[in-house]
């Protein structure tokens, strides 16, 4: 049986000079996992002039930051970052290493898992620590890596019982962001960076990035439309309702595919996971993949012409009927009441 270090590491991604939300979400979850394991939560920051980013992680429970800070590390590059992180993970062999299941995280994590010959589970939606009996063996304190599989039809629990480093990428928005009132009085440990020949083989020629135009995750009210609305014209009703009640507009995958709404507003398994105070689903049938991204909303109103639509199964309030009539009524009544 392998002996395992109890520390939990979170790789901190950066967005415009700040830690990415998903990384802070993972710290929040990682803090609880580390508590259960009696281990420490460490944040891994790779970048340039990144000390403020490192410090920000103390507010989310990191007790130590391993910081590699160098001009060569200013931008994310696969070969550089994966080498630095692979060497760190190989040296300290933390029991758990977590990444956001972002484009960057999914580019980086597999190379590290391959380098250290360890297990990696992609796109987790939940993580737990538990004792496990597997093939007649008993394992203590394994990381349960829980993820949808087969197009979301099945939830699988994956374990890596025979390796000392358990790695997972986790979807953005599924873990709650839980800042501490008083940040941990943690320490920053500098990791020296020595350039290596393979590091700079890939050059960034151009980079175009627009940060957070839409922030569905922090919206208290979301009005989402689906393919059932039929036309882009009808989808405007969703926008009107959102504007009236102060919500953000969102859509199902089918609505995005139909061109009703932009991909950055897609809720669901391949989009964003949200849990607003109020989620209004209009003309959305409620496929598993969509429900996975919104079913933890505080209150859900479903509006659909099909009374059998699965969306009603997760709704608190259901309105059966034609959205083209119900939405204008909703807008009018709302305006009267909250004038």
């Amino acid at each position: 049986m392998v002996t395992r270090n109890n520390d939990v590491w979170v790789f901190i991604e950066q967005r415009g000079g700040k830690p990415a939300d998903v990384s802070l979400e993972l710290l929040s979850k990682g803090r609880k996992l580390a508590q259960q394991l009696n281990g420490r939560l460490k944040a891994i920051v790779i970048g340039f002039n990144a000390e403020s980013i490192a410090k920000e992680t103390f507010r989310y429970g990191a007790s130590e930051v391993l910081l590699a800070d160098h001009k060569e590390l200013e931008h994310y590059r696969t070969m550089t970052y994966s080498r630095v992180l692979s060497e760190l993970v190989d040296k300290y062999r933390p029991g758990v290493v977590l990444f956001g299941a972002t484009i960057t995280g999914r580019d980086l994590a597999p190379r590290i898992a391959s380098f250290i010959k360890s297990g990696l589970t992609a796109d987790c939606t939940d993580l737990q620590i538990s004792d496990v009996k597997y093939l007649r063996n008993e394992y203590k304190n394994l990381l349960l890596q829980i993820r949808p599989a087969f197009g979301g039809n099945i939830i699988a629990t994956i374990i890596s019982p025979e390796v000392d480093v358990q790695m997972a990428t986790v979807r953005e928005g599924v873990m709650r962001l839980e800042p501490l009132e008083i940040p941990v009085n943690g320490k920053i440990t500098l990791v020296p960076y020595q350039p290596s020949t393979l590091d700079s083989v890939i050059k960034i020629i151009e980079q175009h990035r627009q940060e957070n135009k839409v922030n569905l995750k922090s919206a208290p009210i979301i009005v989402a439309g689906g393919y059932g609305l039929g036309t882009k014209e009808n989808f405007k009703l969703v926008q009107e309702l959102a504007a009236t009640i102060g919500g953000e507009v969102a859509g199902s995958r089918a609505a995005v595919d139909a061109g009703f709404v932009t991909p950055d507003r897609q809720v669901g398994q391949t989009g964003v996971t949200v849990r607003p105070k109020l989620y209004i689903a209009i003309g959305i049938s409620g496929a598993i993949q969509h429900r996975a991204g919104m079913q933890e909303s505080n209150k859900i109103i479903a509006i659909n012409s099909d009374p059998e639509a699965p969306i009603f199964g997760v709704a608190h309030y259901g309105i059966v009927g034609d959205a083209a009539q119900i939405i204008p009524t909703f807008i009018n009544v709302f305006k009267q009441k909250l004038r």
Binding site: A149, A156, V201, H208, V314
Partner: protein, 296 residues
């Protein structure tokens, strides 16, 4: 002249049509009960390789690792225009996770020979992990570009690739060889050529030729294989014996991740309150939301 591309393709169960019966008790998948299809993003990857061949010359090989019937996707690759195809198949490779898969793939690629590009789809719809590409690149010690949207140019053994990043894109310059994983809309896969379909529908793997000899005692496998090779209808078949592999790193034994539990997704099952689709019904609903301090 020209560039040599290797394309990693996968036959996948059509995950749009899944029922509980297809999951075996040990949590692995009974693929024989599911319609098997060519993973779409891998088809896009093949198209990208074929376009490089169209523009710069060279050749395109396709590789798949899977059960014998995965030869179906290799024939489809030949229909599209691939020059040759490799099936990597052995019972000892079964049950492999991404680490064990990338180990066998990387060893098979080393055996096949030198290359300029390896292309693969970003991910396969059965696992959605997007891990085999990067892990294969790591094992081969070459750089990778994932989430590729476009080959911008190839010059002097350097490639410019446009790739998706969070909130935008970047253009990267990489030396060759490089492994590239492509997004589903990167290029539009070409249809099959009728002539190629007629020619290659009879292409066969070693296992398929063995089946022929079992059914007909007058056929000898070596002779048959030679005959198919000379007609360019032999699908190269690589088994455990053809590679110098560490058995402990293959299949289930070489896979650190294990499926512990499988559950069907069930509705959380709120009993929702029915609201009448009129002014009164909606008015009451808005009142409730005001009481809950969601509105107002």
């Amino acid at each position: 002249m020209g560039y040599k591309s290797i394309v990693l393709v996968k036959q996948v169960p059509d995950t749009a049509n899944i029922s509980g019966q297809v999951m075996k008790e040990d949590g692995t998948v009974n693929r024989s009960l599911l319609p098997a299809i060519f993973n779409h993003e891998d088809r896009v990857a093949l198209e990208m390789a074929l376009q490089i061949q169209d523009n710069h010359g060279g050749n395109v090989s396709v590789i798949t690792m899977g059960p014998p019937r995965a030869s179906d996707v290799l024939r489809e690759c030949l229909f599209m225009g691939a020059d040759d195809a490799y099936l990597i198949s052995d019972r000892k490779f079964a049950g492999a996770d991404t680490l064990a898969t990338s180990y066998v793939l990387s060893e098979a690629i080393k055996k096949i020979g030198s290359f300029d590009f390896i292309f693969a789809g970003r991910q396969a719809i059965d696992g959605d992990t997007a891990q085999v590409g990067p892990q294969t690149a790591e094992k081969l010690g070459i750089p990778q570009i994932t989430y590729a949207q476009e080959i911008v140019s190839i010059n002097n053994n350097k490639v410019l690739i446009k790739k998706k990043i969070e909130g935008g894109y970047e253009i990267l310059e990489s030396p060759l060889p490089v492994l590239v994983t492509v997004l589903k809309d990167a290029v539009f896969p070409r249809p099959y050529k009728a002539k190629r379909v007629m020619a290659y529908k009879n292409a066969k793997t070693l296992m398929e030729l063995e089946k022929l000899t079992e059914d007909n005692s007058l056929l000898y496998i070596d002779q048959l294989k030679y005959e198919y090779m000379s007609k360019h209808l032999y699908i190269n078949t690589i088994t455990m014996d053809d590679l110098k592999l560490d058995v402990e790193r293959c299949g289930v034994a070489g896979s650190p991740t294990k499926v512990h539990k499988i559950e069907s997704v069930v509705l959380t099952g709120n009993k929702h309150e029915h609201i009448e689709p009129n002014k009164i019904g909606i008015g009451t609903l808005i009142d409730k939301l005001m009481e809950d301090h969601i509105f107002g």
